[in-house]
Amino acid sequence: MIQTLDQIFVLAKHWLLSYLPAALQPLCSALISVATIILAFALLFAITTWLERKGLGRMQNRYGPNRVGPFGILQPIADGVKSLTKEDIIPITADHAVHFLAPVLLVAASFLGYAVLPIGRNMVLVNLNAGVLYFFAVGSMMELAVFMAGWSSRSKYSLLGAMRAIAQMISYEVPLVLASIVVIMQAGSLSTVSIIDLQATYTGIWPHWFVFTPWGFAGFVLFMVAATAESNRSPFDLPEGESEIIAGYYTEYSGFKFALFFLGEYIGMFATSGMAITLFLGGWSAPFSFLTWIPSYVWFFAKLLAIISVFIWIRGTLPRLRMDQLMNLAWEFMLPMALLNLFTAGLWHFMPSGSLRWLVCSTMVVVPCIFLSRGLKQKEKFQVRTYHYSE
């Protein structure tokens, strides 16, 4: 019974496919899975926008949306109708084709990553043996879409926003990938399915998630910080800093194209969060061995929602970084930490298991962290600013 519930979506797909001729089955199998993933995550996007507005409201002692439906739950539908009925304005000097393609490419690129993301036991679209590599490769396509949007709009704000976004996304892609390499080193595989299989075992009641190791924890934190920057979320939302450059690269977008950018960004955020779950938090596996009776996809989405709420929490807390702080954090703190973390993971692999291994590896994470963050702090020198032209 538990087995059936766990595999209910897989079984349902097989049952549907059994009505089709054998020649059509592979194609239809892929189509059904793709449609399900798109529907599920678009729905999650709708719920997240509502949760985010509610959560941020409560953090600022407001109610948040509470007009459309009970507790404002139908707000995403109202927003969708609004953006669909809005006038679609394209600047007359814009490159129309590229301007149109940018949001489409962004959404397509952000959805591509889900192909290798296991959202439950046996619930992965394709088990690529280079899954993680594929994920980061299609993830970097989002930068192209962002630049297309900024360049084709022919607006200085769009272009500045796009430039900022490119600089930020390329800078943070380095620690993002480096932070995930430790997991690949430990698992010895690029396949997301086998990475999770390795973590879905238990010692006593405790799972073997990579986050419960010094290098795994450091890697997870680095990965999440880099993922926040990758998805242009607060406090790394300089590309759309409205106080400076209006809305960044989507300044010139309106109506449903604007909504598509929104969708693309959130879908991208879910994808990187899903990858963080896959790499460090054991994917669909239960946090305790006695909870394995709960279906695997429930665990995946529970973890995803937990990460999303932390994202919202962070957004409600931190102010936006300055450009130099952003770059310093990436290159002077996160990159050295990620590189050192590789050595820590290597050492962990070769040392015999025991408390000594824990001590050495934890020291290798904590001590550089303290020193590097001190380096970040010492940069803050305040001096009297002189104005040459206002005298």
Partner: protein, 207 residues
């Protein structure tokens, strides 16, 4: 170490998040259409025309003197004077506005029209939640849409309206006394005339 301040800040936002569910005092937002702040008496939005009695056309105080139209800084008032005259509240024959339009998309709520009106005919409304789906016609208020009763005026600006009513009552009493004096003087004169004349017909007859 990096992150201490972040954790402190996150604790603060978490306290606010959960606090907003526990204590209602934190949520200061007024749920506007259902809940409203008490109306402030000195508030003002756009002008309206006051009328006395039940019939807005009969009781309108405006005599189309066009002072407000001339004084209006953004020139949002348009008045057309009537050809004929109608009796006002004191029974005196007066002109009345054949057309009285205020374009509230132009009006800047300065209250100068109300200040200059010698007839207390134009006053400021307090109704602020206005909307229209007609950008031009919906914002051009005509005579009928501008007309509001004196009772309404009393309900929105009680102190001010009471003073206006007292002044108007005094004026009416003064007018009435004057009229009475005039009629008395007239009847006196008539009586005198009547007293003086009886002999005359006789004279006439004799002639």
């Amino acid at each position: 170490m990096v992150g201490e301040g972040i954790l402190k800040g996150m604790a603060e936002t978490a306290r606010n998040f959960f606090g907003s569910y526990v204590s209602k005092d934190r949520l200061v937002t007024l749920q506007y259409p259902e809940q409203r702040d008490p109306q402030i008496e000195a508030a003002r939005s756009f002008p309206f025309l006051v009328f006395d009695g039940a019939d807005w056309q009969q009781g309108m105080r405006c005599v189309a003197c066009q002072i407000c139209e001339k004084e209006c800084p953004p020139k949002c008032i348009f008045i057309e004077k009537s050809k004929d005259k109608k009796p006002d509240a004191n029974g005196k024959l007066q002109f009345y506005p054949a057309v009285f339009n205020i374009d509230i998309s132009v009006c800047m709520s300065c209250q100068i029209c109300a200040e200059v009106c010698p007839f207390d005919a134009i006053k400021m409304d307090v109704n602020h939640d206005l909307s229209s789906d007609d950008r031009f016609g919906g914002l051009l208020l005509d005579k009928q849409r501008l007309a509001k009763s004196n009772q309404y005026y009393n309900s929105i600006h009680p102190t001010e309206a009471a003073a206006v009513d007292a002044r108007r009552a005094a004026e009416k009493a003064r007018q009435a006394a004057k009229a009475k004096a005039a009629t008395e003087a007239k009847s006196d004169a008539v009586a005198k005339l009547a007293a003086a004349t009886p002999a005359q017909p006789a004279i006439g007859e004799t002639q």
